[in-house]
């Protein structure tokens, strides 16, 4: 084909102007977005639905068991979760890809980081707390400490903790791991370009 002049070739390509039909415009407007922002919103919705379901089941269970204080704490946690997800969802809904590329990548990376951190906070604090709460409930009013401090009891607790950590780590990696790495890579590319030229 011989040497080509890239500027010339670019300029000579047709600058299309497509007359879309009404039906096509409508299809675009009502199409289900598969974009990254929608994925974050969808995950937040799913998390919220799951948390609300679990909170309701736990609260109702505690009310039936007449554990009034625990039921009250569970209901309070339920309200905090609703408020938190409402704020999170509002924040995610406001996000639009209109910022400059660097800023947009920075916002998305930071959002992803906070999603991942939230999972790990849940993993480190909420999971052991829930397990402890579960043991306390299962023990009734008298906690049989001998049962939990015996080698068998400790083994079971350790196995449960390791399994929960492993499962949560796998879920975080599956849901956000690859995307987070890609975003970091893009952001690093932009940052490196700035740094290289500033040297």
């Amino acid at each position: 084909m011989g040497k080509i002049n890239i500027e010339e070739v670019w300029k000579n390509q047709p600058n299309e102007k497509a007359d879309l039909r009404d039906e096509e415009i409508n299809n675009i407007r009502v199409r289900k977005s598969e974009g990254f922002l929608e994925k974050l919103q969808k995950n937040a919705r799913l998390e919220n639905a799951l948390n609300i379901s679990v909170s309701i089941i736990v609260t109702v269970g505690l009310l039936i068991a007449q554990k009034w204080l625990s039921a009250l704490l569970s209901a309070a946690l339920f309200l905090i979760l609703i408020f938190y997800y409402y704020q999170l969802y509002k924040e995610l809904w406001r996000l639009r890809p209109t910022a400059d590329v660097h800023e947009f990548l920075k916002i998305l990376t930071s959002k992803m980081k906070s999603f991942i951190q939230r999972y790990y906070i849940g993993l480190i604090f909420i999971m052991p707390l829930s397990m402890g709460f579960g043991f306390w409930l299962a023990s009734g009013d008298e906690v049989d400490w001998d049962k939990y401090t015996s080698p068998g009891g400790i083994g079971i607790i350790l196995a449960a903790v390791i399994l929960s950590f492993g499962l949560a780590y796998f879920m975080v990696e599956l849901m956000y791991g690859r995307t987070y790495k890609k975003l970091r890579k893009l952001l690093n590319e932009l940052d490196q370009q700035e740094e290289t030229n500033n040297e």
């Binding site: 600058n15 299309e16 879309l20 675009i28 407007r29 209109t98 660097h102 995307t179 370009q193």
Partner: protein, 162 residues
């Protein structure tokens, strides 16, 4: 003018820009249709927040590049996008030799790093360094140095394919 009519005219005017950007980030018709429609949808959803502080073209480039750079698809995904009749990955009714050259150029651009693709696209679109900086969020002084490096890289890729 109804919002539908406005959107129709707006997309018609911006088809050229959106097509070029999507073509630099996809290599087949299905993905191209998907990217094009995702960009159009995000433009539609974002328009009410457009504050006219920047040029419309700057805003369109930002949205299109942000969408294309972050539209991470799963490898084996069922394509549900309904194709648009007049918008295609490869332009129709175009001289064969010129078409081959344009294809070669896009193929070569797609071999660049994703951020480099954005920079070279804006350069080829004859955007000023200031506007490129506004779109990419890079400093004006860094744009020039980048362009020469990416242009050399692109020419080497083209020569290698030729």
């Amino acid at each position: 003018m109804s919002s539908e009519e406005f959107f129709k005219t707006f997309i018609k005017d911006q088809t050229g820009i959106i097509t070029k950007i999507c073509r630099a980030y996809t290599d087949n018709e299905d993905d191209f249709q998907d990217y094009f429609q995702e960009v159009a949808l995000q433009l539609w959803r974002s328009y009410e927040n457009f504050n006219h502080q920047s040029k419309v073209s700057t805003w369109v480039y930002r949205v299109a590049l942000n969408v294309c750079l972050t539209h991470f698809k799963k490898q084996k995904r069922k394509v549900t996008t309904v194709a648009l009749d007049q918008i295609h990955f490869e332009p129709v009714g175009f001289d064969d030799t010129k078409k081959e050259q344009v294809d070669l150029l896009y193929r070569s651009i797609r071999q660049l790093k994703e951020i480099d693709r954005a920079i070279i696209l804006l350069y080829l679109e004859e955007k000023s360094y200031k506007e490129m900086a506004e779109i990419l969020g890079m400093s004006v002084t860094n744009i020039g140095a980048k362009i020469n490096r990416i242009k050399s890289q692109l020419k080497a890729i083209i020569d290698g394919q030729d």
